[in-house]
Symmetry: C2
């Protein structure tokens, strides 16, 4: 045990043994709360792998949750999400807050250090006990981002992190899913990446609570801000509604982070004032419950080959004797 026990070292080491960590859920959680990155890593592996102990862990976690501030970052590849994440981590650390980072790659079916390359940029925080960084490329045992991510957030929340940054590569549907998981979602664009703005036009517009034009020292930054402003204006925000601000940053030089944080604070205040914060928290819980219930139902109805009932129905559907809707009805009736 002479090797360094830092978050990045744990990450580099790959998945930890999920069977350890949770022999006594309460003890594992206490260790994670005390800053033991390895205990925390094991709890997160439980979430990814859906080990049997997960239930007991989630039960023990529940009363400890609800304190962390959940911030989402999303944007196309190349806009500088990781750098911006790093800048926010540093800034919140200066305030003495403990910061957890979940970096989610929804396009990869693989778990563990998939995004390790990106994470290397964050090595400045590697020896800081108040920072924990985890890459989750897996869709998790519930078979969807909507299952694994909120549970991982739940673990970090219960482990006492004051801020949890959820960073996602912006690809289609996935980022919309992820957006629902944060209190405040930042949509990051960069000048010259026309497609980022295109994407924003098409669907990201609704999910951004704060828009960030990063790399604002690059040509085209003004145009990007102008385009975003025009699009936001089209949204016609009424009195008392939140009108997403646009912040210009150059995260690599540490510029604009303070401004971004103050906009995030304003959004937080609005969340509290308007009741939207509580509404989002409940919506998240609803999604989480629903994902777990569906996974459980799927298990009960026997989606796996070898289950006699669904196999019989599948045989008839494959033979054209039965349509899949009628088969589904029969399956549900027998559950």
């Amino acid at each position: 045990m002479t090797e360094p026990r830092t978050p990045v070292a744990d990450l580099a080491r790959g998945a930890v043994d999920p069977a350890r960590g949770a022999a006594d859920p309460a003890a594992a959680i206490q260790r994670a709360r005390d800053g033991d990155a390895r205990a925390l890593g094991r709890l997160l592996s439980l979430v990814e792998n859906g080990a049997p102990q997960l239930r007991a862990v989630m039960k023990a976690l529940a009363p400890l949750t609800g304190h962390a501030r959940l911030l989402g970052l999303t944007g196309s590849p190349g806009v500088g999400k990781s750098t911006l994440t790093g800048a926010l981590v540093a800034a919140y650390r200066k305030q003495g807050l403990r910061v957890g980072v979940l970096a989610i790659d929804p396009t990869s079916p693989f778990t563990g250090g998939a995004l390790l390359g990106d994470r290397v940029r964050m090595q400045e925080h590697a020896t800081d006990q108040g920072v924990f960084i985890r890459s989750m490329a897996s869709r998790g045992h519930l078979g969807g981002l909507s299952g694994a991510t909120p549970q991982a957030v739940r673990v970090l929340d219960a482990a006492g992190f004051d801020v949890v940054l959820i960073e996602t590569v912006g690809v289609g549907q996935a980022e919309v899913e992820i957006a629902g998981m944060a209190d405040s979602t930042m949509v990051i664009v960069a000048p010259g990446l026309g497609d980022a703005i295109q994407a924003a036009k098409a669907g990201i517009l609704e999910i951004g609570d704060v828009f960030v034009v990063n790399k604002s020292d690059k040509p085209g930054a003004h145009e990007a801000v102008r385009d975003l402003r025009g699009m936001i204006a089209m949204g016609r925000h009424g009195k008392g509604e939140w009108k997403p601000p646009i912040v210009s940053t150059t995260a690599a030089a540490g510029e604009g982070t303070d401004d971004l944080m103050s906009k995030l604070d304003e959004h937080r205040a609005w969340l509290g004032r308007s009741g939207e914060g509580e509404r989002r928290r409940r919506a998240r819980a609803r999604e989480e419950i629903s994902a777990i219930a569906l996974a459980e139902m799927r298990a009960r109805m026997g989606g796996l080959p070898g289950d006699e009932r669904i196999d019989g129905l599948a045989r008839r559907v494959a033979a054209g004797e039965l349509d899949p809707y009628a088969a589904a009805d029969e399956l549900i009736a027998g559950t």
Copy 2:
């Protein structure tokens, strides 16, 4: 009604009215079987939108399915999937077969002509009644590729297409999902795209029934073939098992298509001989039934805000009074 009624024109015109088409499901299906691209387009829109008539349509379709040969094509962007698809369409047309193409973009949440740019290359088939091309960028009403795609395939099958080509952009999990939907899956790589081979290494290897090195006139083609061969050899294919062949093509020049088709024929023969074809058909039906049943359950358990029961549970989970697993148990118990 003087405008040209070709598949591509239908596609360019955007989504058709899903409410028409299925007033009389049997009649709509008959029109589609007679080569009416517009009727077919409407049936596919039902699948995408999950209109209420879908059940009746699927019931009427069931006895007509099971004839089409389902061929999947997947690979990273830039490997030439569309060109290869076009070459296969032309070749099967020469044999007098009717060919349907489903081009799926799993990264886009948007429906309709998202891939239209790509499709332009296939305009040579635009006026051919024996060819139907449809882009599906939507995840469909069942909330997943696994729901919409098999049903679209089912429609084309019932409409009398002899060959259905399912083309997917290779991105992570989605292509693995899609692979399960074809009888034979081609994994396409191109020389010089190191990441394609990386991807193949990481997970595509299991899903390829036939590997295609396209753009084989480019430097690096031999190395790509060699790398693939090495990886396939590691798979240790036993007697009677299918060992995926590697075909070199230059689809843009029409080279290698005959060789590819003969490998696909060999794979088809093996599917029949080994029983694997029937096994795959049943596995597909199982997945389809299960996706529909889960969507139905989700509807019943009220995933939407406003549903009193799940709202009450979500409130308690958000407040930390209840863990999400216990909440899911309560939800299921009351369904």
